[in-house]
Symmetry: C2
Subunit: 312 residues, 2 copies
């Protein structure tokens, strides 16, 4: 009599292949970034600026934020070519923030995605300008002069991105981060810093994808909650990986938070506590999706799962 | 018999008082900047970021770009409260560019508008972040979540500002400027640098003001030409004043272009040649206004005149 093979618990999304979906999206995302950064052949960015911008953006990065935009657009049955612009715009904001963060006056980091950082390669002034120009380009991508992209959606996307990038979002979180080196933040302060520093842009990715469609206010709220949980989980996992991974796996300098005496979720709640917290946030994110009553949330579900259970 | 007093040639705009008009606009511009930078009392920018942003923007500056926006909105009979947002947004982009330009890795300047520069006061990281956050805030101002500001205008304003600030505009010009220290640029290269570095944002100020109204395509073209001439004239006059003024009058370090061996219009065409060129550009600007067939161009005319004939 033949043995019945041991069956694992069923996969939660048996029909959705995140790898295949991501691969399809990434082809277009990379092509789009290549095309839009920085300038077409007949109007390239001058004096090395385009080279620095491309170096900062192309050939590296997990493109998590663009994937979240596209997944959320899928869920909201949105305008996918506008969402592709939004996806690239969010990535440009993320890329510019890395360029500026790595500069000597900020984190002074020399390795990023396994390559020398932009200021090492192009000088500090070149890095400063490339970052500035990438931020402007993000808003340019969101506002094509083409009536097939509804003006109301263009304006909404600019509004969402500007808030997430500015003092109420990423830049505000950076300021708290800068001010908090060698301080012991309590849990509330640490959450607030990360809600702004990384959470705001991740959440905006989700909301911007949905803003390319016509989700109901209730569904938008649910997606906003999903984005908040995923954004926080991302940082918790980042803190865990900073302790448990090496630079080769991470593609950037490992252990630098501890070396710089920065407060992290691991320093606050320990490694096991942080892992449990990440799983709890994943459960929250999935519950929010459930409550959205949107149908096509497979990619959003799978991305949340991947993001929490990633190894780098 | 009484002598008839000698009459000068009549003023070109006898009924328009630029000083009074500007004073009225400036009250609202300063109030608006104060209110919008950075954050209302119940949601201030965190960890000193708001202080650095306000320091960079408030209490200083001629507000030339905001005045151009408002003057152009007048000419196009536009939506004045949206134009006030556009005026402040352009000023935020200008202010952020000064903050980043002054940093040690760029011009390394310690005096601006008679005050210590932002990085001197708030540190380099603080200045970097404040500049980044000001750029984002500019796009936030342009996209209020309020249906009384037409979405089509919001999107147009973002499009115009993003292009003028980015690699095809100000940031591109900065890159050329950086790369050109100690090089002798020819006239075409010098024009291209300034067309991007300062001209693009000044021209955008004019076009954005008009974009808050419903100017005809022909009138828009004429305003675009006016903006290009005024933008170039501004830089020519700046180069003249850098040679002829002292720091107390200028409110910034004088003579620094020559000290840094930067190419200027004065080094290219001499002082007299530069003065003649500025007057020629003024005539072009006024002719463009004439050709616009817009009626209410008094403020634009007077601003062009003031800008070319200013002493600081």
């Amino acid at each position: 009599m033949q043995e019945i093979p041991h069956l694992n618990a069923p996969e939660p999304f048996p029909l959705f292949d995140l790898g295949a979906w991501s691969a399809r999206q990434l082809v277009v995302i990379e092509q789009s970034l290549f095309r839009w950064v920085a300038g077409p052949a007949d109007a390239p960015a001058p004096a090395g600026l385009g080279d620095a911008m491309r170096y900062a953006v192309l050939d590296g990065g997990k493109r998590l934020r663009p994937l979240l935009v596209m997944a959320s657009c899928d869920a909201a049955n949105g305008h996918s070519s506008l969402a592709m612009r939004a996806a690239c715009a969010v990535e440009l904001i993320h890329a510019y923030s890395l360029v500026h963060d790595d500069m000597p006056c900020m984190d002074n980091d020399v390795l990023r995605r396994g390559k020398p950082t932009v200021h090492v390669k192009f000088g500090e002034a070149g890095a400063l300008l490339a970052g500035d120009a990438l931020q402007a380009l993000a808003f340019e991508l969101l506002t094509p002069d083409d009536a097939s992209f509804p003006a109301g959606m263009q304006a909404s996307l600019c509004r969402l991105l500007a808030r997430a990038a500015g003092y109420q979002g990423m830049a505000g979180g950076q300021a708290i981060d800068l001010a908090s080196v060698s301080l012991s933040l309590n849990s509330k302060q640490l959450h607030e810093m990360h809600r702004l520093k990384t959470g705001a842009l991740l959440q905006a990715s989700v909301v911007m994808g949905a803003a390319c469609g016509f989700a109901s206010p209730a569904a938008l709220d649910a997606l906003r909650n999903y984005g908040a949980a995923v954004g926080l989980a991302f940082q918790v996992v980042d803190d865990i990986l900073d302790v448990t991974s090496d630079a080769a796996t991470l593609g950037k300098t490992a252990g630098k938070d501890a070396a710089q005496d920065k407060p992290t979720f691991v320093s606050l709640m320990g490694l096991d506590g942080s892992r449990a917290y990440a799983q709890q946030l994943l459960a929250q994110a999935l519950a929010s999706l459930e409550s959205s009553q949107l149908e096509n949330t497979h990619a959003l579900r799978a991305l949340a799962d991947m993001l929490v259970n990633r190894q780098h």
